[in-house]
């Protein structure tokens, strides 16, 4: 985002990317069948199943060879990284939700966490700009927890979603068209969606949003962007006058150290990777790392609360076979709807919907095999009968930052490039567990209202009560260099500028003060656009 706004604003930009260039026409597996690959989507040794399967857009993984991270005992934090131009925007779920006004004033609201140094009104014009540029479908609904935006028309609901909505209506649960960064009409020179349902594989027609296809090309077209791939940023180098003057990086191909000098540095490596870079940027001026003079880098880490559930709906057995693909993601969703009452946990969650006659894939019948057991014609008939009758829910909720959840440099280990790695600490509190419990109860009530059987079984004890997923698993980790009005408790100001060094900015998930139940990407882009305009302004004034 920053590269586009800065180059279009007339500045020269060098972008360092730790991974390779992406070539959609060759790298994306759009419209391929599982049987066109020898591993059928399971990947070498079946290991791609964990990384969302072999069809996922390239270079996104929980583990990268030679680039480890560690977790403190009991933390089991999982860190998804995308080493490729455009990063995670090649892989993301395209869910594009605005934070609500109340999400910026959390402490004022319930005494927990902190308020942002900016308000919804400060960011709203940038939400408008981002949505108008990238294209987001949705509908105006006037739900106070989920502000409306600039929307393209939404796709009609799938059969599963019609039935879920009917059940939600009876239960007084709000169920509305989803808001996804997928084009239902031609938009800014990009073709509309062709409804193959495979956004996660990457789209060769760029009918969904990814930075690599939608932001980098216009930045390149200015002639002011130099993209250096295979460049692993190691340290931000300080000059004697207290400003940052360069980034040292490892050129992966030659395994040599190189340096690029700049008047300002924008760090957007993903929240934890950016924290790592700041912590590794030690100087006489900042012995504990750049931006870390008050020890806040890496702190306030949160991920979304996640708990999933599914059931079988006999009513769907009667549906004739039909194309259920649609866009790559839900057409309807449940925004947080209990904001007007007292709950036994703070903040809220939204519910993502899935299921139905999806393309068969590896693992699809694990549940059936476990429940039915046996073998033979009977098993085959049962698979035929239940195929397409599954509906599922993913609850995604807000975690409150806690002192036991943060990342820091592992004191002992470096990666293969010689760069100290991160060690994660992670703990869900009672707030999040109660939220996960509420999710499970809601999923069950919807399935039962649909006349179905709820199949997910969760425990109330153990490491993951109520099916709460390990930290990191939702890939919404944010907050590790948060913004704030008070330099003693934050790393950045409201323009994503470090309090310590005024020509260093952080524009990924790290600046987020809260992690509400809205996927962070849209807000990250809006913040980045706003910070970039500020940089242009400061550059004009000669302050940078």
């Amino acid at each position: 985002m920053a590269a586009k706004v800065l180059t279009e604003g007339g500045l020269n930009v060098v972008m360092l990317e730790a991974g390779p260039q992406v070539y959609p026409e060759k790298d994306y597996k759009m419209l391929m069948w599982p049987y066109e690959l020898p591993h059928r989507g399971a990947g070498v040794g079946g290991r791609a199943s964990e990384d969302f399967g072999e069809f996922l857009a390239p270079n996104g993984a929980w583990d990268i060879e030679g680039e480890p991270y560690t977790s403190a005992p009991g933390a089991n934090f999982r860190w998804f990284r995308s080493r490729i131009v455009g990063g995670r925007t090649n892989h993301w779920g395209r869910i594009a939700l605005r934070f609500a006004p109340v999400d910026f004033q959390s402490k004022t609201r319930d005494g927990l966490g902190d308020d942002w140094p900016i308000t919804y009104e400060d960011l709203a014009p940038y939400y408008d700009k981002v949505e108008s540029y990238i294209g987001v479908f949705g509908t105006k609904e006037n739900v106070s927890s989920a502000p409306d935006g600039v929307f393209l028309p939404p796709p009609k609901p799938r059969c599963t979603e019609i039935l879920i909505k009917k059940a939600c209506d009876k239960l007084n649960i709000t169920c509305i068209p989803a808001r996804l960064a997928i084009l239902t009409k031609a938009h800014n020179g990009r073709l509309p969606c062709h409804y193959c349902g495979q956004c996660g594989r990457g789209c060769t027609t760029a009918s969904n949003f990814s930075s690599s296809q939608v932001l980098i090309p216009p930045a390149m077209a200015t002639g002011k962007l130099t993209l250096i791939t295979g460049a692993m940023a190691r340290e931000i180098v300080m000059s004697k006058d207290g400003k940052a003057e360069a980034v040292s990086y490892i050129d992966k191909a030659s395994k040599t150290e190189k340096r690029v000098y700049a008047k300002a540095i924008v760090v957007a490596a993903s929240a934890c990777e950016s924290a790592r870079l700041l912590l590794n940027s030690k100087s006489t001026l900042f012995p504990d790392g750049l931006g870390n003079s008050t020890g806040n880098v890496g702190k306030y880490l949160t991920d979304s609360v996640g708990s999933d559930g599914w059931g079988e709906i006999p009513a769907l057995e009667k549906m004739p076979p039909h194309n259920h693909d649609g866009v790559g993601g839900m057409h309807y969703y449940v925004p947080w709807w209990k904001f007007d009452r007292k709950n036994d946990f703070p903040r809220g969650y939204h519910i993502e919907l899935w299921g139905g006659r999806d393309m068969p894939g590896v693992g699809m019948f694990d549940g059936l095999c476990r429940d039915e057991e046996g073998y033979g014609v009977q098993l085959k008939r049962r698979a035929r009968q239940v195929y397409g009758t599954t509906v599922g829910f993913s609850g995604r909720g807000e975690m409150i930052p806690n002192p036991e959840t943060y990342c820091e440099l592992d004191p002992d280990r470096v990666d293969q490039w010689g760069i100290p790695i991160l060690r994660f600490h992670f703990k869900w509190s009672e707030y999040e567990l109660r939220q996960a419990k509420d999710m499970q109860e809601t999923f069950k009530s919807i399935i039962e209202m649909m006349g179905g059987t709820y199949k997910t079984k969760t425990r109330i004890d153990g490491q993951y009560p109520f099916g709460i997923l390990p930290g990191g698993k939702i890939i919404h980790e944010v907050g590790t260099a948060r913004m704030g009005a008070d330099a003693r408790t934050s790393v950045l100001n409201g323009y994503c500028q470090t309090h310590d060094v005024k020509n260093v900015f952080v524009t990924d998930g790290a600046p987020l003060v809260t992690n509400p139940d809205k996927n962070p990407t849209l807000t990250i882009m809006a913040l980045s656009w706003r910070a970039s305009e500020y940089i242009l302004d400061e550059a004009k004034k000669g302050n940078i």
């Binding site: 959609p24 026409e25 597996k29 759009m30 419209l31 069948w33 599982p34 049987y35 066109e36 591993h39 059928r40 399971a42 079946g46 290991r47 796709p155 009609k156 609901p157 799938r158 979603e161 239902t184 800014n188 020179g189 990009r190 073709l191 409804y195 193959c196 060769t204 027609t205 760029a206 296809q213 090309p217 077209a221 009667k318 549906m319 076979p321 039909h322 194309n323 693909d325 866009v327 006659r357 999806d358 393309m359 068969p360 894939g361 590896v362 693992g363 019948f365 694990d366 057991e373 046996g374 073998y375 033979g376 014609v377 098993l379 085959k380 008939r381 698979a383 035929r384 195929y387 397409g388």
Partner: protein, 198 residues
């Protein structure tokens, strides 16, 4: 609503032509499709015609694997079975690349033979069809492991193999058609859900 499943090449060709005007993209979907086709062709050409030679399992083990896959998902009046769908090749490939699978499946097949020798005096493949069915009926259900602890490992092995056989079958053309999945095509518009039956 006029939606037809046109061939993917036709659609991609159309997309490529309309993409040429004013797009910020430098992608050519037609080439993408071409590349994908070539990849598959190459992979197919690399496999020698005729008999598949297993990468991990011994020929004898592989025969047992084929027999078990056929037991788990046989041919029926609607479609072919897991063997025709290529499940054994798929399982062998993944197992050759994964030590855990080697223990669970390679070791599991040896467990099966040992069990059969103990109870029938011969390997699983040498057993009579009724005897094989008797063993399968024992290891296909968790409740039998509860009643007879010596079956524990066999039940775990069979459950693992059942999952993988389903994976192999339902990711094949035969399996996907068996489920009547209709999709993986490009469409000019999204018509929504067909009328719901009462």
């Amino acid at each position: 609503m006029s939606i037809q499943g046109i061939s993917r090449r036709d659609v991609l060709k159309t997309l490529a032509m309309s993409a040429a005007g004013g797009s910020v993209l430098q992608v050519i979907p037609l080439e993408a499709a071409e590349l994908a086709h070539q990849m598959v062709k190459k992979q197919k050409a690399a496999a020698p015609a005729g008999r598949y030679s297993p990468k991990y399992f011994t020929p004898k083990q592989y025969e047992t694997l084929i027999s078990l896959c056929d037991t788990i998902i046989p041919k029926d009046e609607k479609s072919g079975g897991a063997v025709e769908a290529g499940a054994p090749e798929f399982i062998d490939l993944l197992t050759s690349e994964n030590e855990e699978f080697q223990g669970r499946l390679g070791g599991g097949l040896m467990w099966l033979d040992t069990y059969c020798i103990d109870h029938y005096g011969k390997t699983y493949m040498e057993c009579a069809p009724e005897q094989r069915k008797e063993v399968a009926d024992l290891i296909a259900y968790r409740k039998n492991a509860k009643a007879t602890p010596e079956l524990h490992q066999g039940v775990a092995f069979f459950a693992f193999l059942r999952n993988m056989t389903c994976d192999g079958f339902y990711t094949s053309k035969i399996g996907i058609e068996d489920l009547q999945y209709i999709g993986n095509v490009t469409r000019s518009e999204w018509p929504g859900c067909p009328p719901l039956p009462e």
